[in-house]
Amino acid sequence: MSAAPIIDVRGVRRSFRVRQGLFAAPRHVAAIDGVSFSVGAGEVLGIVGESGCGKSTLARVILGLLPPSAGEVLVDGQRVADMDRRARARLIQPVFQDPFSSLNPRRRVRDVVSMPLDAQGDVPAAEARRRVDEMLARVGLDPSMGERYPAELSGGQRQRVAIARALVLRPRIVVCDEPTSALDVSVQAQILNLLAELRDALGLTYLFISHNLAVVEHVATEVAVMYLGRIVERRETSALFGAPAHPYTKALLASVLTPEPGLGIPDTGLGDAMPDPSNVPPGCSFHPRCPVATARCRVDIPATARVAGGQSDCHLL
């Protein structure tokens, strides 16, 4: 890893007020609860976890779209919360999951891609036009596509437009929140290849959020596993997939269905209990589902332990 991290997340916590009944007092539910990590320039950090684990909230906090309730996020050495919105946009950009809701249906593709340039306020129209054409070509779209509306494009083409919009300012970091989950298998492969190619060509750093572990294994250099708002394991990709340390990581990996016939459906060993962010269990929050939990796990919050190629939070390490 390179010396200075380009993303530095320090003890970030983000909670939401929820009201569970008409007369109930509002409660604070922590979507992310004390997350710290850093990412070196040029790396791809994969973030995996089940729905409700806080991975999308984390993406929004890092993008500066949600202020953290506690802690801070530094991007390229500056606090995201304090940055000028234009400067932040030049540094970090998102690609979202659903290519149908991530493009304004009322604007032509050209205007969608040009929007970050227009927001800068100092890019001349001719220059913006040139950069939009160049970016469209770069993501594999014909510049004539620029005149179309999103509704006229396929899912894969829309996701290319979303990538063009994210890259038109030449940011250094792209936060990809489930970028291929809504796409067909063959289109997913096209988009993953495109993202890899752009990363090499433009020297990008990716934060790659996905629930698809096979995809994360393929693209990420390092992987963080989230459970109920916390990172329970963070390691180099090959170390994590080769010898998962945390019981939750083991269960996640076991449930990946690779296209290899005859292996059957694995038993994950997880019970029926579903993680509920509004009712986080005491001790290790994973203990109700953990097949190897001990009495201690129900009481004490596990400390972070070093394991080969990274770290993990589990009493049994």
Partner: protein, 327 residues
Amino acid sequence: MSRLLEVEALEVSFGAASAVRGASLALDRGETLCLVGESGCGKSVTALAVMGLLARNASRGAARLSFDGQDLRGLDERGMSRLRGNRMAMIFQEPMTSLNPAYTVGSQMAEVMLRHRGGTRAAAMARAEDLLGRVRITSPAMRLGQYPHQLSGGLRQRVMIAMALMCDPELLIADEPTTALDVTVQAQILRLLLDLQKDLGLAMLLITHDLGVVARVAHRVAVMYAGEVVETAAAADLFARPTHPYTRGLLACVPVPGKVARGAALGSIAGVVPRLGPGFSGCGFRDRCGEATAACGGTIARASAGEGHDYLCRLPPGWRAGAGAAP
């Protein structure tokens, strides 16, 4: 094993657009057939056509469409609804939209039983409770009184499965049953389906786009593309010797941990799925196929690549890339 479902040359069109173009399927008792393909390939429409649940503006035609020897083509709506939910049941991707939010789980499950089999409400409730336990829902008696919104996604899908089983169906059609679920829950639901199938001798038509699911649960696989079944084979055979160029392309698109080198480019299929009208002839995949020649515009015969393995392409079994393109 005996044939339970036979579909031959199924055609479904919506106005000028063909959704299914001559698809044929056969399903034995106790067998799992996976219908795999990308969105718009006609796999869900095929299932709906079998269940007689197509939208009003659809027109359906088939050379053969029979369930346990009974011809479904001439059956009216009353005859179909006697079969549906009774001898053939269906579960969908999003259980929330197929459960009525205004009724409790128990009353919805009992309703299915009372409609088809009659009997007392108490007996139906007892059966519902039994089945909820069977789909491994803890404290089933308590769940009977709950409303759909009080359940998690995985629990709702279990309830849907239990509801589908109320009348001991012979055929279960599952349309992307685990697509909306987390991977851990997906594994649990699929295990459950496989166990139930073994115990009850169910025939299962599982529709999915996920090749991982196909590989792990299917006995036989039918690959659909642009409304046609382009390749059918036993699951092991299909993954070992994929023959249609589309099947090969699809398999190359999936990253497999430990098999595909990390960071290496994945295989991909250029272009997009075409929308074909009724007059289309020749191979529907030829515009995206690396091996296509002028001959692909003509009629393509179904070829055999071994016992129970056939495909719709003019290339010989075991062809190699580039070999077919030679003039």
